[in-house]
């Protein structure tokens, strides 16, 4: 991977976001809507459930913030590719001296930047509106964020691979893929509440350990490092798998002329 090439590809996104403020609005608007919905739902539940477990219920707000990290990281990777499709720039990039590693490295960087913008904003607003401080998670926050970013990148690569494979008609996968797994990811409720078969799916998804872990820390202040270790291992497995899938689809794409088909549509 060449840092100079990555810097150039990322620069393009910085120019894009400063040139088109609408995209920043999109980056801020949707997470904000989510926070407000779940935030007020939390307040409503807190006031009606009584004092039995007022703390635990704030995990809904934590879930909004953490889910958004995964989602933005995934988006960064998938939209990176689509931006080039939309602007008919795809061949300019793929016929330039850019390796797969440069390309993926740039998408990770953009994913991380998007996640940083939204999580800082959500973190600040949740303190302000709902007195929920994400830093309650203390040091556990670091492995949580790390795991969510990696899984987001992996899902992003899978989204892009599917879009290349199935063509522009599959574009909506860029937004849909994270939501395919959301029901099983134990984002807003514990894994135990899923039927047994689905619990297995949950256990195969690294992000479910993060959301379980977050609830654990908020309820009894204990970090389950063993589970986080499992999540990290699973993550590296998925990241590698998604990387292989991406490289393979790009090879196939060159064979079947899929990249040039995108360009001529």
């Amino acid at each position: 991977m060449s840092l100079r090439t990555v810097r150039a590809l990322v620069l393009r996104y910085l120019y894009l976001y400063t040139r088109t403020p609408v995209r920043i609005v999109e980056l801020i608007f949707w997470p904000l809507v989510h926070l407000l919905v779940w935030g007020y739902l939390t307040r409503f539940l807190q006031q009606n459930i009584g004092d039995d477990f007022p703390h635990e219920i704030t995990f809904l707000i934590g879930a909004v913030i953490l889910w958004d990290i995964l989602f933005r990281a995934q988006q960064g990777v998938a939209i990176f590719f689509l931006e080039d499709v939309w602007s008919r720039n795809l061949l300019n990039i793929f016929a330039a001296p850019v390796t797969n590693a440069d390309y993926l490295g740039s998408t990770y960087a953009v994913g991380m930047m998007r996640a940083t913008v939204t999580s800082v904003m959500l973190g600040g607003l949740s303190v302000l509106f709902y007195s929920f401080n994400i830093f309650q998670l203390s040091w556990a926050l670091i492995p949580f964020v790390f795991n969510l970013l990696i899984f987001g990148w992996a899902l992003g690569m899978i989204s892009t691979a599917l879009i290349v494979r199935w063509g522009p008609a599959a574009e909506t996968l860029a937004w849909a893929v994270p939501f395919f797994i959301q029901p099983f990811a134990a984002v807003y409720y514990p894994v135990d509440y899923l039927p047994t078969a689905l619990q297995w799916i949950a256990k195969a998804l690294p992000c479910s350990y993060v959301f379980e872990g977050m609830r654990g820390v908020l309820t009894d202040g204990v970090v389950n490092w063993k589970e986080l270790g499992i999540a990290t291992l699973l993550n590296f497995f998925y990241l590698g798998l998604a990387g292989l899938l991406f490289v393979r689809v790009m090879l196939k794409g060159r064979e079947k002329g899929l990249l040039t088909k995108f360009a001529s549509q």
Binding site: R4, T5, R7, A8, L9, L11, R12, Y15, L16, R19, T20, E83, D84, S87, R88, N89, L90, L91, N92, F94, A95, A96, P97, V98, T99, L251, R254, E255, K256, G257, L259, T260, A263, S264
Partner: protein
């Protein structure tokens, strides 16, 4: 003689059961402009895409600067560039921003002054701060050409660069092509449907039909071979008559 800058041997591409390029061979030497001609669907763009490494050949061999393309892809691409009617630069960026991004990708030294230079060359310096998506088709093509010249490529691939240009701008583009060939010794592969382009800038031409090379030679040799008055006539004949060899046969065929 130096080895060719681009050597293509028995290049073949099948898309499923469609054969787009069928055993194509040619060489381009340093400082030469080679015209790749043929009707729509002849396989010109597919051939160019294979030289760019964005389409993998089904068979055959491509050597650029004496090196096998796919094994040296990044190194080779850094000294190559292209401009095609099928691509654009991101419309939401300003012209200088787009050129800055691609200049960095191609590792262009003294990038800022090189950007001014190429804008000057294509006479669009006044558009430097404009948003790329707001350019007219002709201005957009010239911006694409700026991107293609940015890294002073040793091998330049131009896929119908004059397709959407008015005669005045097309003339300017031809002059730029001749200028970089003469001043920098750039080697150029050029596709066009405009025979005026070809007569003016191409040192040699390759006529393709349904994926195959029909004839390779200078303009004069081509006219002589096909016994026609102009390249335009040759083009029409090739497009309609396919690989029929002589004028007599094609007249036979049309009876």
């Amino acid at each position: 003689m130096h080895p060719p800058v681009l050597r293509v041997r028995e290049l073949t591409k099948h898309f499923g059961n469609v054969t787009s390029v069928d055993g194509v061979s040619f060489d381009i030497f340093r400082g030469e402009v080679l015209g790749l001609l043929g009707a729509n669907g002849a396989g010109k763009t597919t051939a160019i895409n294979m030289v760019l490494g964005i389409v993998t050949p089904t068979g055959g061999r491509i050597e650029v600067f004496g090196k096998e393309l796919m094994a040296n892809r990044i190194e080779v691409l850094r000294q190559m560039n292209f401009c095609s009617t099928y691509t654009q630069l991101p419309g939401n960026l300003r012209i200088w921003q787009n050129l800055k991004v691609f200049g960095q990708i191609y590792r262009v030294p003294n990038l800022n002054s090189r950007i001014d230079e190429v804008l000057e060359m294509l006479e669009i310096s006044h558009l430097k701060k404009r948003v790329s998506g707001e350019l007219s088709a002709g201005e957009g093509t010239r911006l694409n050409l700026c991107k293609a010249l940015l890294n002073r490529p040793r091998l330049l691939l131009l896929d119908e660069p004059t397709a959407s240009l008015d005669p005045d701008i097309a003339d300017k583009v031809r002059r730029v092509v001749k200028r970089i060939r003469d001043e920098e010794g750039t080697t150029i592969l050029y596709t066009s449907h405009n025979m005026r382009d070809v007569e003016e800038v191409c040192d040699r031409v390759v006529f393709m039909h349904r994926g195959k090379v029909l004839f390779t030679g200078t303009s004069e040799e081509t006219l002589h071979h096909f016994k026609e008055e102009s390249l335009e006539d040759v083009f029409i004949r090739v497009a309609r008559g396919g690989d029929i060899e002589s004028k007599g046969e094609i007249e036979e065929a049309s009876k």
